[in-house]
């Protein structure tokens, strides 16, 4: 694979997308569509801030509706990027070099979308700074024994570490853009952003040390962040939530849905920007295998939840399981099983794993299934808790759906900006991978 011309051409194309606007039409199409959905989000947020959270379908007892479903879903999606960047790096899986930059960028944007929801779902979102431990005239501090405060620190750390890791890997490519930029403005822009990186071995040595450390830190971080998010539910007593299985089950689900989102973006990108030489069927095959494995862990989680609901002898737990699969939300629960357990079994077939089209459709199905799973976990458990007088159903409103779709718009919009201004594939790592092959 040394000096494979297709690889060199594709690497040059990655720079050309940024410097010479290669693939301009495809980019503008994606950017404009994303901008439209971003506008939907801005309208939804304006209405929310004016009228309050009553525009959503939340009620008592289902006080956590779409906002928290979206929060958990987006954070989960972010985990694939860190898994690819950090865990696969530590396991010396060099195939991750073509996809780690764009999936790490996805993590940043997914965490941005996720972080928006806990803020906007507060009735008085302008008081969000109360979450921070600062000395105040009320002489109160945040409750450090609460999973919600753990979330604040975990998600905040996750966002910061992800940005640092992503940016560190970017610097050598930004320096290469500075060196090859045709226009002076581009040279200055990338020159400033690359801090004067010259590629000397001393710089590379420090780079390598820090990169390894960040990868080593990000790995337990990715496990801890979604475990902490799962304790938002697991630390409560409500049947269906108070489950010790949640931390590993949520983390596996996060990587499952995250890889699905990576594929949802990577497959069209490789086609429209002609990067097939860098994101090969082999890459897709390996990503599909990770999805299959994590999907099986999620399926195990479902089986265990069901088994424990029966085996524990807890009437409330068993009743909730029956409510989920035979009650008003039965369609949703069964759809979750179909989308997350049954359909992904197609990934056992190599033909499916290596086909861009089938994998793309499957990734959309899994994204949907994982969102619905978060919905089932949160809404059904709140809807039917201990006290019958508290039981009530949740119905989403137009604004719930608009905010969700708008967050997809924000995500895509940020992603298209990223593609325009930064190399979406880590060219220096790809060069290293192919030189040492």
């Amino acid at each position: 694979m040394k000096n494979d011309p297709a690889v060199r051409e594709a690497s040059q194309r990655v720079y050309d997308i940024v410097l010479r606007h290669y693939g301009n039409r495809a980019w503008w199409a994606g950017f404009l569509i994303s901008s439209f959905f971003l506008l939907v989000l801005l309208v939804a947020l304006t209405v929310l801030f004016w009228w309050g959270v009553g525009i959503w379908g939340i009620n008592i007892p289902v006080a956590w509706g779409f906002a928290i479903v979206n929060f958990v879903w987006w954070i989960g999606i972010g985990h694939a990027g860190t898994f690819i960047s950090a865990v696969l790096y530590l396991c010396n899986q060099n195939w991750r070099n073509s996809i780690n930059r764009l999936s790490e960028a996805m993590t940043l944007f997914a965490v941005t979308c996720a972080g928006m929801f806990p803020v906007i779902h507060l009735g008085r979102f302008w008081r969000v700074y109360w979450l921070a431990p600062y000395p105040n005239t009320m002489e109160v501090w945040p409750q450090f024994r609460s999973p919600l405060i753990w979330d604040e620190f975990a998600v905040g750390t996750y966002f910061t570490v992800s940005i640092l890791f992503w940016y560190l890997g970017l610097v050598p490519d930004l320096a290469a853009l500075r060196d090859t930029a045709p226009k002076r403005l581009q040279k200055i822009f990338y020159g400033v952003l690359s801090f004067g990186w010259s590629g000397s071995s001393l710089q590379w040595a420090r780079f390598q040390a820090a990169y390894g450390i960040l990868a080593g830190l990000a790995t337990p971080l990715v496990v801890s962040v979604h475990s902490i998010v799962s304790t938002d539910f697991a630390a409560a007593q409500v049947p269906g939530w108070h489950n010790a299985l949640f931390p590993p089950y949520f983390v596996a689900g996060a990587i499952f849905s995250g890889f699905a989102m990576v594929l949802t973006f990577a497959i069209p990108l490789r086609k429209f920007f002609h990067l097939e030489a860098l994101i090969t069927p082999d890459h897709m095959d390996k990503m599909a295998k990770v999805m299959l494995a994590t999907g099986l862990i999620v399926a195990y989680g479902y089986i265990m939840e069901g088994f424990m609901a029966w085996y524990s002898g807890s009437q409330e737990e068993w009743q909730l399981l029956r409510f989920r699969f035979t009650g008003p939300y039965a369609v949703v629960s069964w759809l979750v099983m179909i989308c997350n357990v049954i359909i992904p079994q197609a990934l056992w077939l190599p033909r499916v794993r290596k086909s861009p089209l089938l994998l793309f459709i499957l990734s959309l199905v899994i994204n949907l299934g994982m969102w619905l799973e978060r919905f089932v976990i949160i809404v059904t458990a709140l809807s039917k808790d201990f006290l019958p007088s508290s039981w009530a159903l949740f119905y989403p409103t137009f604004w719930d759906i608009a905010t969700l779709i708008g967050s997809l718009g924000l995500f895509s919009w940020l992603f298209f900006l990223f593609i325009r201004f930064f190399p979406m594939i880590s060219v220096h790592e790809v060069k290293k991978e192919y030189a040492e092959a």
């Binding site: 945040p142 570490v161 640092l164 010259s198 001393l202 390598q208 820090a210 790592e429 030189a435």
Partner: protein, 176 residues
């Protein structure tokens, strides 16, 4: 002909990192001390050839992690035990298991912040203008060896001769 003291250094480019590494080793044997190697990606071979051993980033990150643990735990301990203790069902104020989450996150945060900034500050960056940016070879994505004019044994003809014998394909004089 540029005068000797206007040259920043002479750079030679090599076809791959192994030849660069052996050239760097030979350069040290010849008595040159002010050397820099450049590569388009991480290259441990070239670095070891320069005889460089340094674990400052790793040690610093470890210490930063310890600091993070201290800060994270102290923050929680102070607020819940000293500043505003609230008796909840007689449970211990110093809730060690519950405090572990934030402590862990603060450790990761401090270690990560240190590692990131250490890469740049320890290498003297940001430094937006450097003489090597004028070099076609160094900016051109090649394995290069630069011998600085500041080196005590620097002699233009000898350096060019040496680089050629070490296997360099292209040469360039960089002006400061």
């Amino acid at each position: 002909m540029p005068k000797h003291d206007e040259i920043f250094g002479i750079v030679g480019s090599f076809p791959d990192q192994d030849i660069l590494a052996s050239a760097a080793r030979s350069a040290r044997e010849e008595g040159y001390t002010s050397l820099t190697t450049y590569s388009p990606y991480e290259s441990e071979t070239a670095l070891h050839a320069l005889g460089w051993r340094d674990k400052k980033v790793q040690v610093g990150a470890f210490l930063a992690g310890l600091l993070g643990i201290g800060v994270g735990y102290f923050l929680q301990y102070y607020t819940t035990v000293i500043s505003y203790p609230i008796n909840i069902g007689g449970r211990p104020l110093n809730s060690v298991p519950a405090f572990m989450q934030v402590t862990f996150e603060m450790m990761v945060l401090c270690a990560a912040l240190f590692s990131f900034f250490a890469v740049f500050f320890m290498s003297g960056l940001p430094r937006l203008h450097q003489p090597v940016f004028n070099s076609r070879l160094v900016s051109g994505d090649r394995f290069c060896l630069l011998i600085n004019a500041a080196d005590p044994v620097f002699d233009r003809e000898k350096v060019l001769c040496f680089l050629k014998s070490a296997g360099a394909r292209e040469f360039e004089e960089i002006t400061a």
